[in-house]
């Protein structure tokens, strides 16, 4: 069906498949798993917001729904958490579609606020329904694997799945319809596009993968509570930042965005990859340890600055404005 083989993608996939064979460091694998998870979440958000134009401020609702679906199944019924993995996506869709049907008459910022409300409602429900969800104490399950490698491959499989879906969607009727709705809903309706139906399809795809990422998180981390998985800043807004930094409405934007965000986050959280801690220990200087303390908490500040810079100078994100970066930063002249 595809006219030319996706060579670059296949090479990238081969590299990622090979990584665990020569890189056994757990810390590094952990970062890669986080990166892959964020590719899934960012790309999911991007289908719905970037292509269909429905900006969601509450994707943590679907992430949390997937995580809780997996956690509750294991916790209450003693099923292996792997069953929960299969359930995470459908559970998120089960929350997402009624939400879509109710809230799609709202447009623009009003819809965005509704998605924020959904996020907060689910967080409170998970907190209050203590008998069922464990409330603030959260849910703890035994991870199925000690090694990180199986999780790595599962996350990689999810990334391959969502990127394949996006690639297919944007080249089909669905992609044209999603973008038409984004550009002008009234014009789209006049061209025979059932905007409510196609918004629901877009939302369905988006939340299915977000929910799967949530159930992966449950299995991988082994512990969730409402303030973690329904977190506005850690998931709902991070999903938006990942897409904005990489490039909203581009196929591989969120992939690049996820890499940048995870790297920046870790760079600061670890005190420049342990460099500051090392210097602090060597010199014993109180100044350095104070700086370390500041730097490890500075990632939020850096995210803020990063987003401002991106919006000002690269409004289409790193991928969307790649030509601009090549011209201005790398000094590459456009080929005639």
């Amino acid at each position: 069906m595809l006219k030319k083989l996706p060579i670059a993608e296949m090479i990238a996939l081969a590299v990622f498949m090979a990584i665990p064979f020569f890189m056994k460091d757990n810390y590094f694998l952990h970062l890669l798993i986080l990166f892959l998870m964020w590719v899934v979440i960012g790309s999911s958000w991007n289908i719905f917001a970037g292509y269909t134009g429905q900006v969601s401020f509450g994707h943590a609702a679907f992430f949390g729904a997937g995580a809780y679906a997996a956690g509750l199944l294991a916790h209450h019924f003693g099923y292996s958490a792997w069953w929960g993995m299969a359930l995470g996506g459908p559970a998120a869709v089960l929350i997402g579609l009624p939400f879509g049907i109710i809230c799609f008459p709202l447009r623009g910022a009003y819809f965005t606020l509704a998605s924020l409300a959904l996020n907060l409602i689910l967080m409170h429900v998970a907190t209050i329904a203590e008998n069922f969800t464990g409330g603030m104490q959260g849910i703890m399950i035994m991870p199925a694997f000690v090694s990180k490698i199986p999780y790595y491959y599962i996350a990689l499989a999810m990334v391959v799945a969502i990127l394949a879906v996006i690639n297919l969607v944007v080249r089909s009727k669905f992609g044209y319809y999603f973008v038409s709705i984004r550009e002008d809903q009234d014009a789209a309706e006049s061209l025979g596009i059932n905007s409510t139906l196609y918004k629901n399809i877009s939302l369905g795809i988006s939340v299915f993968f977000t929910g799967m990422a949530g159930s992966l998180y449950m299995n991988y981390m082994g512990f969730i509570d409402p303030s973690v998985v329904f977190s506005l800043s850690d998931y709902s807004i991070m999903a938006i930042l990942v897409a904005i930094v990489g490039g909203v409405g581009t196929v591989y934007g969120p992939t690049v965005g996820a890499f940048i965000m995870v790297a920046v986050n870790e760079f600061f959280r670890s005190g420049f990859f342990g460099l500051l801690g090392f210097i602090g220990k060597r010199t014993g200087s109180p100044l350095v340890s104070k700086a370390l303390d500041f730097v490890t908490h500075a990632h939020v500040l850096v995210f803020g600055i990063l987003v401002i810079v991106v919006i000002l100078y690269l409004p289409k994100g790193v991928v969307g404005d790649w030509e601009k970066i090549k011209r201005k930063v790398l000094r590459v002249r456009p080929t005639e």
Binding site: K173, V179, S180, A187, L191, G192
Partner: protein
């Protein structure tokens, strides 16, 4: 059987009656002009026909089916295309992609949609700008794109809402030619227009409204000579 007619259409917005008991019939294959001063209710009529507004009362009958209150996307699929007075290009899509998106109203595969789109682009004279982003087209191009997009949905009845407004004389001439070409293609057209010599020269029949009410209907010559129409346009002093 009648091809298309509206019966006693009424639309009120709060206390304001925008369209008041307007009835007319359009025969298959004709160009039917709709005129009236600003705010007469012409675009409101179009919005009721194309499903954007639900009429307060009255009927819209297309091919013996009542279509008032039917959703816009369904009306499009039934074969009624429209353009917007305030153009609505799908801005960050290329001209070609705009037309491809519209083509999916009739076909499902990407290949068929591409074929349909290139045929329509050729028909509407947009082939040379097919790669341009819709938002960077000049106004004449955007108006033409509106028509192309509506034509790509293969309508039997086409509603043109002021597609000639804002065009220079050369552009106007080619717009008129395009409308004639569409009619020759077998598409029935209802056209709203303010530029009198355009609407007088291309319409088979004209329906004039003012303050939401019918004031005249007939051939362009009759309507132009009609006392009520002259009053509506020039005021009672000149009538």
């Amino acid at each position: 059987m009648s091809f298309f007619r509206v019966e006693k259409l009424v639309k009120t917005f709060g206390g304001l009656t925008a369209v008041n008991e307007v009835s007319f019939e359009v025969k298959e294959g004709e160009i039917f002009g709709l005129i009236g001063p600003n705010g007469a209710g012409k675009t409101t009529l179009f919005n009721m026909i194309s499903g954007v507004y639900v009429p307060t009362s009255g009927k819209v009958i297309y091919k013996d089916q009542e279509i008032q209150g039917v959703k816009p996307y369904r009306i499009c699929k039934m074969g009624v295309g429209r353009t917007f007075q305030v153009v609505k290009p799908l801005g960050r899509m290329s001209v070609r992609d705009n037309v491809i998106a519209a083509s999916f109203a009739r076909v499902n595969s990407m290949k068929e949609a591409r074929d349909n789109a290139s045929e329509i682009l050729d028909f509407c004279g947009l082939t040379s700008v097919r790669g341009t982003l819709a938002k960077s087209l000049p106004i004449a191009g955007r108006k033409r794109l509106e028509i192309a997009r509506a034509m790509a949905t293969r309508p039997d009845l086409l509603l043109l809402d002021e597609t000639a407004a804002g065009l220079n004389p050369t552009e106007l001439l080619s717009a008129i030619n395009l409308i004639h070409k569409i009619r020759k293609n077998g598409t029935t057209i209802i056209i709203i227009e303010h530029i009198m010599h355009v609407i007088m020269s291309i319409s088979d029949r004209i329906h004039a409204i003012n303050f939401g009410q019918t004031i005249a209907e007939g051939t362009p010559k009759d309507v132009a000579a009609n006392q009520a129409v002259i009053e509506a346009y020039l005021g009672t002093d000149y009538a």
